[in-house]
Every structure is written in C-alpha cells, then in structure tokens.
C-alpha cells in the first residue's frame, strides 16, 4: 500500500523527519558555523529575511542552515517564528535620506550630486567560475586583506556622508507628483488583517516587501516586456544602513540599531492628468531588507504597474500580483497537491462515469438537443 492512509502514519512521519536530518548530516562534514553563514552567505540570508519578513541575520542564518539552503523553506521557518513573537513597538518612519550608503546609483542622469557610488556589486564583473574558491584557506584571506590595504593607501578617505535623493531634483522642478489617492493614508498591517481589494497602498507595498523575489522578478520582467505598459528608468537605487528608532512608553525617541536596506525609486513614463492639465512623472517605490536589488527594482516596477487602471496584463492586476507573489502561500498551496485527494478524485470519477453513461444512452436514443417548441 502507498503512504496514503497507512496505519502507523506517525511512524512514517518520524522516519521521514529522521531521514531529513540524516540527509543533512550524513556527509559527516564539519557542521557549518552560523557566523560563517551570516557573513559568507549574506545575500542568501538577505533574501530569507526579506521573504521571512523578519530582520535578524542570525535567525535568518539558522533558518537557512536548517533548510539546507532552500530559501523558500528558510523563509517559511522564519515567518512561522516571527508569528510567535509579540510586537512591542512599531518603529518610527525610517528616513532613507539619512541612509549610510554603501552603494548608490542613478540611471536617469549621467552625473548626480554626490556622484554615482558603485559600491559592492557584481554588475560589472565577469561571471567566470572561480575554481580557486575550492581551496580557499585563511592564508588566502590574509593575503587578500594585505593587498586590499595597500590599495587603500593614498586614497583620500572621506567622512561618511549621506546623499540627497536624486528624485528630489525632479521634485524641486515640479516634475514629480505624489501618487494615487491623497485620502489613502491608512496604514495596514497585513499580518494583522486579511487583504481585501482594492488594497490600500500601504498594504500593497507591505505585500511586495514580503514577496518572493523570483515571483516579483517574473512579473516585473513581464511589465517591461510589454505585458503592462511600464517603461521604467531607475531614478535611484541605494543600498545602505538605516537607523531604526522607536518611541518608548515615556515618549522618548530611542535608537535600537541599524538595518541594511535596498531602496529603489523607479521613474515610469509620463503621466497625463485626466483633466488635461500639466503632465508629470510618478514614482514606483521598492524597499526590502538587505542587499536585494532585483527585488527592490521589481517592487518599484510593480508598484507602478498596479496603479494602471484597466490594464489587461497580469502585472497591472493587483489581485494577480499580490496573491501570487506571496511565496509562503504559493509554496504551501502548490505543494499541498501532494496531500491525498482520493475522496475528491473519487467523486470526479463517479461523475465522469455517470456522464459517460448518459452520453452513451443519449446517442443510442434521440439527440438530447432536439428543439423544443412551446
């Protein structure tokens, strides 16, 4: 008999769980250190934190290790963990103007105040497999740091600066207009209430921020390729550390730490006011944990696409985008097909057999589509 409805199902589960651990450990190689994961797999963990909706590189690393590198599974574990935590505060609104930048670029202008800061990016590297990583030792690390330090000699080190937003240039020239409905100021927490449509912007952005990177990427890409008329330009992309403040019970503003964020401001095409007044451009906004540029950019594209009225492409359809990029739900439901469905299926078989009977009976007697006259 198959696994379905076998007596001793509990035994089966226990064995399956033991096998999972066994597969994770059977190589008997050195257990991976959480700190190593945190530091050397930071981009994977950034993804896990973003989709898990919890900023903690340490817990993200633990989840990543537990899931053997499966980002979906790790994000799920983190979400479930998050749900057990009680909320003590909502932070003050983060001011990303004050972000301590490690990377900041704009595709809209050749030169921008403060300059283009490439920062740590693979965008301009050649993706050549580096087989030397197979034999990396601590000696290699020491050599690298020594070489790196010599590169820094003679370079005038500047004080850490903050950068103004590129789009503020456009704003000061009156070319930017605030988006959407000025009355739509409701702050929704989608973990506290169910989404209803049309969803307020705060809910849409929160859903996108928690969204699965691959799903967002697919839909953002589709919007650029003609499935939803969004022709985006990156107004500004910045990656860096933002300070987080909360207001304590005595009303004092307290600093609780820094988090790394990626922020994208995407300029879409020219809008024309329906009342035929002055045209302007509007922004699509993306923000996520860690350094995840693909996600932030696609968030911005989709934020804009979902505001297109009467669009006929998936990316312009709020319900389509928000329901289907929710990774934990999508993963759960697609995989739930593995659960037994034999009762449901049996009903279908029963109906099918009945319908076949009926058709066969009908074809041997008169056609059931005879015209009926009143």
């Amino acid at each position: 008999m198959g696994y379905i409805a076998v007596k001793g199902g509990t035994d089966a589960i226990r064995h399956a769980n033991a096998l999972v651990e066994y597969f994770r450990l059977r190589s008997n190689t050195k257990p991976v250190d959480i700190e190593q994961l945190r530091q050397q797999f930071r981009l994977g963990i950034d993804k896990v934190m973003g989709e898990g909706s919890l900023y903690s590189t340490e817990y993200g690393a633990i989840a990543f290790k537990q899931a053997e590198g499966d980002v979906f599974e790790a994000a799920f574990i983190l979400r479930a963990f998050r749900a057990t935590l009680s909320r003590s505060y909502y932070s003050e609104t983060l001011d990303t103007n004050d972000m301590q930048i490690i990377r900041r670029i704009s595709a809209s202008f050749r030169e921008i105040p403060g300059g283009q800061v490439l920062g740590p990016t693979r965008d301009y590297s050649q993706r050549l497999l580096n087989t030397q990583l197979a034999t990396e030792t601590e000696l290699d690390l020491a050599a690298f740091f020594k070489e790196f330090e010599t590169q820094l000699e003679g370079v005038k080190l500047q004080e850490l600066q903050t950068f103004d937003k590129v789009i503020d240039i456009l704003r000061s020239q009156g070319l930017l207009k605030p988006v959407g409905n000025p009355e739509d100021t409701r702050l929704v927490d989608v973990t506290r209430e169910a989404l209803r449509f049309p969803a307020p912007r705060s809910a849409r952005l929160q859903m996108l921020a928690r969204g699965e990177t691959g799903g967002l990427m697919a839909l953002g890409y589709s919007a650029m390729r003609g499935y939803g008329a969004v022709h985006p330009t990156v107004g500004e992309l910045r990656v860096g550390y933002s300070k987080v403040y909360v207001t304590d019970r005595a009303g004092r503003k307290r600093y609780i730490g820094k988090i790394m964020l990626t922020e994208a401001e995407i300029i879409s095409k020219i809008e024309e006011d329906k009342n035929g007044s002055i045209p302007y451009i509007a922004i699509g906004y993306g923000l996520c944990f860690g350094q995840n540029e693909t996600k932030a950019i696609c968030m911005g594209i989709l934020d804009r696409a979902m505001r297109i009225q009467n669009g006929n492409a998936p990316a312009t359809d709020q319900e389509f985008v928000l329901y289907h990029t929710e990774g934990v739900e999508a993963m759960g439901f697609t995989n739930h097909l593995k659960l037994p469905h034999y009762v449901t299926f049996q009903s279908t078989l029963d109906n099918l057999r009945k319908a076949i009977d009926q058709k066969e009976k009908a074809s041997t007697t008169t056609n059931q589509n005879t015209a009926i006259t009143t």
Binding site: V6, A83, A194, D350, K354, A355, Q358
Partner: protein, 302 residues
C-alpha cells in the same frame, strides 16, 4: 548580534498568542451569527505550510481547552500522514487527550470528509478549507465575488451549473458541491463528497470552517438550513455504492474508497477509518441518516 540568545523556546498554550486567539474567537462568533458568510481574519503564520491545514489549526487552537478531547482525520482517516503530523502538533502544544473515536471527541478537525457517525450538540467539527470562495471558478476577482455575495447576485453560479448539465448530462460538481446556507449565502462545504453534504443540514453540532491561506472563517451553526444547489428538475444526488460493498465489512450504505491493492483488482473499503473499525469489531454505531441515505436504504430493500 544577539549576545545571549535564547535558543531554547517554550511555546504558549496552544501555540497561538492570546490576542490572536481572541481575534479568531470574535471572528468565529461573527461567522456563527451570519451562517455561510466568509469573515476575513489575520491568519497568522504557523509552522505548518499554507494549504496544509493552517486554517483548521487556527480554529482548533483558538477554541481548544484542557478538557477537550481532540480527533483529527484526513479523507476520513485518522492514520493519514498529515493528520498524524497535525495531531502531534496539537498535542505537543496543548497536552490534550486525543482519540480516534468520533463519539468521544469534543473537537474534530477534518480535511475533506464529515464523520459517518452523527455528531451531537456538545461536539464541534472544524473543517480545513482550501478555497473558501464558492464563486471563484466563475469569477476570479475577490473584489467582484465580495459584491456578488453582498448583493446575493448568484446568477453566474447558476448558469455554470446549467452549462455543466447541458454539456455532461449531470451537474458536474464532484466534491465540494456548492450549497445555499440559511437561504442567503452560497457556501463552499470544502471538497467533501456529495455523500456528506446533506449532513450539514439541520445538524446538532457546530460546523466551523477555516481557510488559512485565503484568510477567511465561516460557520454553520446547529439547526441551520443547508441545501445543495439544484434545479427543480435536475436534483442533487449522492454517490451510489449499491452493488459494490466494502470488501472488509460488506457495507454498502457508507461512503467507500475505491482502491487497488497489489493484485491490481478494484476494491472498495469504508472511508471513515473509525467507522470501519467499529463495524469490524461489532460495536454500536450512530450513523448520520439523512433523506438521501434513507431513500437508498429503501431502494436496497426493494
């Protein structure tokens, strides 16, 4: 970096925090007050995957108490693997008594079946719901289906039943046959077989429905009218097992599973594992008799 991380965790009773439990209970009260109406709720994440019973779990964990006796079945079977997993989880977080006996349980969580035995007024059945929206196949947008329910505009649903009948000679719905609750809301009874649908009507127990992924709760309180959608001249029918008895007990008037063993031959076995056990061991059973079952019993006599 957390300097003194608390790596050992103990969990709150029934896992879910009290605030969320209160929210779920409030929403359940609203659901019971408006039979068949889908109440949105926060549906917090659980350590169980979406689509695998989080909604049912939310309800169970919100209402369960130290004196409850818990039973959980999947496709009618206590032994189904996912049911075992969920049973372990509930037991681990509540230390409650668990049972396979449908008559002993106070809370029965189920996926896609109702117990063959009739439940009483001190029992609650909690359904796991994959898709709470019965109109989803005819209208994909939540915004529109909400309006349709609000205005009781169910024409599209009826036309799709008409079309299925015209095309296939039968209203094609297999499991999850849509029902009208309290003459007001069309509701999805979850993918239970047609065999079980009549047992929702005028019950003694409370039926609660939890859709975790879609974040909706709904309910059918006791003695509520629940009728399968049917035309005057194209009526609802339950499945027939006359002539294909259970290979273990010989029973024809219970819902049977079709299965194939190693010999490759088709066999039928009672789906409700507890019911099967009771009949096999000669115990007294209290089957839920409805008018369709009565008619079938009558047919068998003649």
């Amino acid at each position: 970096m957390i300097d003194t991380p608390k790596y050992q965790r103990s969990y709150h009773y029934a896992f879910i925090d009290e605030t969320t439990k209160k929210e779920i209970r409030r929403k359940l009260l609203k659901a019971v007050a408006i039979p068949g109406y889908q109440v949105p709720y926060s549906s917090p994440e659980m350590p169980i995957a979406r689509g695998w019973g989080t909604g049912g779990l939310h309800i169970t964990l919100a209402i369960i108490g130290k004196d409850d006796v818990f039973k959980i079945i999947d496709q009618g079977s206590d032994a189904s693997v996912n049911a075992c997993n969920l049973r372990d989880f509930v037991q681990m977080t509540t230390s409650c008594k668990t049972t396979f006996d449908a008559m002993e349980a106070t809370i029965i969580q189920t996926r896609h079946r109702i117990t063959e035995e009739k439940l009483g007024k001190d029992q609650i059945m909690v359904f796991q719901v994959p898709q709470p929206e019965p109109l989803r196949d005819v209208e994909r947008y939540e915004k529109k289906t909400r309006e349709m329910h609000a205005e009781m505009n169910y024409a599209k649903m009826w036309v799709s039943l008409y079309e299925a009948y015209v095309k296939y000679g039968a209203i094609m719905y297999g499991a999850g046959y849509p029902v009208m609750v309290n003459d007001r809301y069309i509701m999805s009874p979850t993918p239970i077989p047609r065999w079980d649908v009549p047992n929702l009507n005028d019950s003694e127990c409370i039926y609660l429905f939890g859709a975790g992924r879609e974040k909706r709760l709904y309910a059918v309180p006791p003695h509520t009218k629940v009728e399968p959608l049917e035309f005057e001249d194209v009526k609802f029918e339950i499945e027939r097992f006359l002539g294909t008895p259970c290979s273990i007990t010989g029973e024809e008037l219970a819902f049977l599973d079709e299965l194939y063993e190693d010999d490759g031959l088709k066999k039928y076995v009672i789906s409700d594992s507890n019911y099967l056990d009771k009949i096999r061991t000669g115990q007294l059973v209290h089957q839920h008799i409805n008018k369709y079952l009565k008619a079938m019993a009558h047919e068998r006599e003649s």
